[in-house]
């Protein structure tokens, strides 16, 4: 008979402070601090509520895929984002992504596969167990973070959808709904919505490619791409498309948003590469966030963001300064 023994340090569930209560405490504290600050400097504060009703996730750690570098604090990961559907300011997504509703959510699967159709998010994820992977994220703007994602390997989901032999690429789309995404209503946006991304099939099937549904053990906050987003850590951050509503298997290389916008600046591959500069700035170094005020936290950028061992073989024989 298997007797489950509980180590002495495990608290019974009943003694753990329920999440709702400690979140409320936190909310109360930030509220108190905020009101004090507002009294001192009126009109300065715009409260951004990040973690009110996020649900905790069950997952196992995947140390084999995780870096042990210092993680970027949750507050920074959720307050400093590029999610242009909500504005181009780094704080805009935290401020406005609450206008997007992520439940219920469905993903349209189409193209060269045996299992096309409209999937409720739960059905797409049901067959898989969540794992936590701590990845580096390198933005094309020369800053980077270390983020503990929770999710499933992209390869597992793709296998479930059974792409056929004509599927050479997989294409993704973000939600396009100007009612929920305020910057999609902007008159002077040069992005042609919806936001589009894509991977070559072998890139998508690589063990590192990941579909995240959470970070720091909880469901993704909207500004980080809720409820489901791609994470491809050896590529610049813009490849890791957020709030996915469409997955299409294609024979032809799909057009991706940044490539459509400025083909001389952003390519389809967008592999992190210190040897190929962005035309407007250098990619040799990056600021690992949080960065200091007087001493910026500069580190050298590594080729493939340090994941060369897992992915370099995908690009054997390719001229990466041409296929950037």
């Amino acid at each position: 008979m298997l007797i489950k023994q509980r180590p002495s340090w495990v608290l019974p569930e009943s003694e753990v402070t329920p999440k709702s209560i400690y979140l409320n405490r936190r909310k109360f504290m930030t509220g108190a601090i905020a009101s004090a600050a507002t009294l001192a400097v009126p009109g300065l504060l715009h409260a951004s509520d990040t973690s009110s009703d996020l649900k905790a996730l069950d997952y196992r750690a995947a140390p084999e895929y995780s870096t042990d570098e210092k993680k970027t604090p949750l507050d920074d990961v959720t307050a400093y984002n590029n999610f242009y559907e909500f504005g181009t300011g780094k704080g805009d997504p935290a401020k406005y992504a609450g206008e997007m509703s992520v439940d219920p959510w469905s993903v349209e699967v189409e193209g060269e596969c045996e299992r096309p159709g409209r999937y409720a998010l739960e059905d797409l994820l049901k067959p898989h167990d969540y794992e936590e992977r701590i990845y580096r994220l390198r933005c094309v703007e020369a800053w980077s973070m270390v983020i503990p994602w929770v999710g499933v390997p992209l390869a597992a989901v793709i296998k479930q959808l059974q792409p056929n032999s004509r599927a050479k690429y997989v294409y993704f789309e973000t939600l396009h709904d100007p009612k929920q995404m305020r910057a999609q209503r902007s008159l002077f946006s040069t992005v042609e919505w919806p936001y589009r991304e894509g991977l070559r099939m072998d890139e998508a099937m690589n063990e590192l490619s990941f579909l995240a549904v959470g970070l720091y053990g909880e469901a993704l906050p909207n500004q980080n791409g809720a409820p489901i987003r791609l994470v491809v850590p050896w590529k610049y951050g813009f490849k890791s498309i957020k709030s996915i509503v469409r997955i299409r298997f294609t024979e032809e290389q799909p057009k991706t948003s940044w490539e459509m916008l400025a083909p001389s600046e952003y390519g389809f591959y967008a592999n992190v590469n210190p040897e190929v500069d962005h035309p407007r700035w250098s990619q040799k170094r990056e600021r690992r966030l949080p960065s200091g005020i007087l001493r910026p936290n500069w580190i050298e950028t590594s080729k493939f963001n340090g994941y060369g061992e897992q992915v370099a073989q995908l690009y054997k024989g390719m001229d990466l300064s041409r296929f950037y």
């Binding site: 400097v41 300065l44 307050a79 181009t88 946006s189 040069t190 960065s291 910026p296």
Partner: protein, 205 residues
């Protein structure tokens, strides 16, 4: 006599208020830093905000002449020097922050000559250096008749600053369009009132 005194009072008070108001952008940055609200990439945020403040004050200096034309109060002109010096002040802080907080002081030549948007910004700054240097009463006297045409360098400087701003846009250019329209209208008003040659720096009329 009383009327003159009254006028002087208004001018002194408005100068004082303007001086304090002009320090607000810097004050907001400092309070955000102290309150921990500046975010995880403070160098970037501070540099951008200082640059934007410089551009906003530049546009304000260009509002002075239209204000005088419309209101008929020439006191506005007396406020312009301070506004102009604040443009220079924020531009200096912007460049210092850029070097100290973002790129570092190594290989300055490469920093300022490799990227088109930085060349535009740096050129605008260089055009403003002689303007700041000739802003005192003594210098105005020394430069004499050349002062006015010299200070028309602010027009190309303003356009360069806008280009510097525009070239940093990655996708949404709403902000750049707004600032650009304001600048365009301010320049157009001058053409309307004084003719196209007003915009040409270093030429006496």
């Amino acid at each position: 006599m009383a009327a003159v005194k009254h006028q002087t009072m208004i001018l002194v008070v408005s100068k004082l208020l303007l001086f304090l108001a002009a320090l607000l952008p810097l004050g907001f940055i400092v309070t955000d830093v102290l309150a921990g609200r500046i975010g995880p990439d403070p160098g970037q945020a501070i540099t951008e905000r200082l640059g934007l403040a410089a551009f906003q004050f530049l546009l304000l200096t260009l509002v002075v002449t239209p204000l005088r034309q419309i209101t008929g109060w020439s006191g506005w002109l007396r406020l312009r020097r301070m506004l102009g010096l604040f443009v220079f002040f924020y531009a200096c802080l912007h460049i210092l922050a850029f070097l100290q907080l973002l790129v570092g002081w190594g290989d300055l030549w490469a920093t300022f000559t490799q990227r088109p948007y930085i060349i535009a910004g740096a050129s605008a700054f260089l055009l403003m250096v002689p303007l700041a240097a000739t802003s005192t009463k003594a210098m105005m006297k020394r430069v004499g008749r050349g002062w006015k045409p010299l200070h028309r360098l602010i027009y190309p400087a303003a356009v360069l600053v806008w280009v510097h701003f525009l070239w940093q846009a990655r996708s949404d250019i709403t902000e750049m369009v707004i600032y650009g329209s304001v600048l365009f209208v301010l320049l157009l008003l001058r053409v309307y009132w004084f003719g196209l040659t007003t915009l040409i720096p270093l030429r006496r009329r």
